[in-house]
């Protein structure tokens, strides 16, 4: 294949990267540099970030991001576009403006490597839940980096010795709070102010370089690369060190077990309707006696596992049709059209009566749900969809009768390349 570059001036290992696909989560200070590095290495790059560029962070981004033209653009989409001219022939770059909550384990599993460049602990913990849900033999290499003051760090793991949670200090994972004091829907809080991590732009680019070098060494097959942490310190001691992190005793992340079997649904969450999913599952299980659990998102210690059909306007109290998953519903989403038009805010100080929420989807579910796509019903792209069979159990105290089968949509990983926004 033709290359835009002169191969004689590049690493002899470069051809090893042409088939590699790297997912970069977070496209800011570290992620933009990581994307630039991976693209120049000769691999394909996908990026995810829900945020957009601001001028105040311009001193930290890679030079591929243009200032001030790119201010206000979605980081992931913008970086993917800016690195495109640098790509090796045959490689692709793609950016999706999305929250990590919109992705499921199977999208992550479709990459050779994932570089986690996010600065908030809740996202790292959520990523670990998704990652550890992937059967061990299909887990990609994960590289997590971070910067702090004058230090840059990067850890590479294969998910066999320890997990990301082994590396996180649990006290950082502060509890999230559900908004309601009553038993209504669990409404997502807009993520608050991010932890401000004061650090130099150089530390960000070095963290990204360390991550890229770890990925490169892993692909080349260098010795003693996997499951190592590389730390660079600028001050007070200038040094670069390598250590081998230990698995944490009784680590809850390591305790997560992937499903023993994952069955396939033809199509993707974007095009399979609930009605079609019920038919496909029923063929696979050879019964119609089952229910599909509504997707459960566990984020910041709050479980979002309901699909809200109806509720009341949280500004004026009038009944409204919602048709959204709890985990994708924010307080301001619960307003009637009149209140949205009149810019009335949803009230936090009032307890509204619980709305109509479904926790499982079956043939008997509300007919409006049948023609909705699985994504619209709250399943992320690449989700593990849990199907519960009660086999005559009176309730869950009758535990031995209940079985769970996990399904996933086969086209989900490919569909990731066809979207720019996941909302």
């Amino acid at each position: 294949m033709e290359s835009i570059y002169n191969p004689l001036k590049l690493s002899v290992y470069r051809p090893l990267f042409r088939e590699k696909k790297v997912l970069i989560i977070g496209s800011g200070a570290v992620g933009s540099y990581a994307a630039e590095n991976i693209a120049k290495m000769g691999a394909s790059v996908c990026l995810v970030d829900f945020d957009s560029f601001t001028l105040e962070n311009a001193a930290k981004h890679s030079g591929v991001v243009r200032t001030p033209e790119d201010v206000g653009r979605y980081k992931a989409i913008c970086v993917a576009e800016r690195i495109r001219p640098l790509l090796e022939e045959g490689c692709v770059s793609h950016g999706v403006a999305a929250d990590l909550c919109m992705l499921g384990p199977e999208v992550i599993a479709s990459y050779d490597g994932v570089i986690l460049c996010v600065d908030n602990y809740a996202a790292k913990a959520l990523f670990n839940d998704l990652y550890m849900s992937i059967p061990e033999e299909r887990r990609p290499i994960v590289i997590m980096d971070g910067t702090h003051e004058e230090m840059a760090q990067s850890v590479i793991l294969d998910g066999k010795e320890f997990c990301l949670r082994c590396l996180l200090d649990e006290k950082w994972l502060e509890n999230g709070a559900a908004r309601t004091s009553c038993s209504g829907a669990q409404i997502r809080e807009i993520d608050g102010v991010q932890e401000i991590i004061r650090t130099s732009g150089l530390a960000s680019s070095i963290a990204a370089n360390l991550s890229a070098e770890q990925f490169r060494a892993a692909v080349i097959g260098a010795d003693q690369v996997m499951n190592r942490r590389v730390t660079y310190t600028a001050y007070p001691h200038f040094e670069l060190s390598v250590s081998r992190p230990m698995p944490k005793k009784n680590c809850p992340g390591c305790h997560i077990k992937p499903p023993k079997e994952i069955r396939k649904l033809t199509g993707s969450v974007f095009d399979v309707t609930l009605g079609e999913a019920l038919n496909q599952i029923s063929e696979s299980l050879e019964t119609r006696d089952f229910e599909i659990a509504v997707h459960s998102l566990f984020y910041k210690n709050v479980m979002y596992a309901g699909f809200i059909l109806e509720d009341v306007c949280h500004a004026c109290g009038k009944p409204i049709t919602v048709m959204r998953h709890e985990g994708r519903t924010f307080l301001e989403d619960l307003r009637c059209e009149d209140c949205i038009r009149e810019k009335k805010h949803a009230r936090r100080d009032v307890d509204f009566p619980p709305g109509r929420i479904e926790y499982a989807l079956t043939e008997k579910s509300d007919p409006r749900l049948m023609s909705m796509k699985l994504f619209e019903l709250g399943y992320p792209l690449g989700a593990h969809i849990r199907v519960i069979q009660r086999n005559g159990a009176f309730d869950f105290l009758d535990m031995d009768r209940i079985t769970t089968t996990v399904f996933t949509c086969t086209d989900d990983p490919a569909q990731f390349y066809n979207v720019e926004h996941l909302r």
């Binding site: 559900a178 004091s181 038993s183 210690n301 009566p353 499982a360 309730d395 209940i402």
Partner: protein, 207 residues
């Protein structure tokens, strides 16, 4: 699928626990078994109802003691009755996922903490602090109008605030000595505290 959650104990120490689907069911069974031992069956009947789709456990809790009810959305006049029933539903994600509680819409508890739709206002669900037991306790005490559990700051039916406070002032509420509702052998729970400590580190299977 498993979920990882933080648990902060009463000393403020945070530990993290991961719960698999099986452990979630074990936690539900443990809490149910603890629940049915707490109350005196003469006054409190706890009945399992068939769980519907999406439900893991569906309980009806009847308190056989004087109470007051309302019959529809517009009803503002509490009527006396000799027993009251609330229902609790726990979901497959228990104990990470909150339970829901409600009364029959045509015979619901007259209380500032019950919506006119019959939905019960339970306290905020705090993972590993809230449980089937804390919710049942709140409902049972609410059914005898025990002001100790009434939240006047979080009101589902504010029109009943004065009525409730007047009942308390007259010494009519609670309608029965709360101690009578507990099974004799069980030591009395401390008021305003959670009644039974849910085991945060769930029985972890050694494999």
């Amino acid at each position: 699928m498993s979920y990882t959650a933080n648990y902060t104990d009463e000393h403020g120490n945070t530990t993290t626990v991961s719960i698999s689907e099986e452990e979630s069911r074990e936690a539900l069974r443990n809490d149910y078994e603890a629940l049915i031992k707490i109350y005196n069956p003469r006054y409190v009947r706890i009945e399992r109802k068939r769980a519907q789709e999406g439900e893991a456990l569906h309980l009806a809790i009847t308190v056989k003691a004087p109470s007051h009810y309302l019959i529809d959305n517009n009803d503002k006049t509490p009527k006396a009755c000799q027993s009251m029933t609330a229902e609790i539903i726990a979901f497959p994600g228990y104990p990470l996922m909150s339970v829901r509680a409600f009364y029959a819409p045509d015979h619901y508890l007259a209380s500032p903490n019950v919506f006119r739709s019959g939905g019960a206002c339970i306290d905020r669900w705090v993972v590993f602090t809230s449980s089937l037991l804390t919710v049942a306790e709140k409902l049972i005490m609410d059914m005898i109008h025990n002001p100790v559990v009434t939240r006047y700051d979080s009101m589902a039916n504010p029109t009943l605030e004065e009525w409730h406070k007047a009942g308390v002032a007259r010494g009519e509420f609670p309608t029965i000595r709360p101690q009578l509702l507990y099974a004799p052998a069980v030591p009395l729970p401390e008021r305003r505290q959670r009644t039974v400590k849910t085991p945060p580190p769930l029985p972890r299977r050694r494999t």
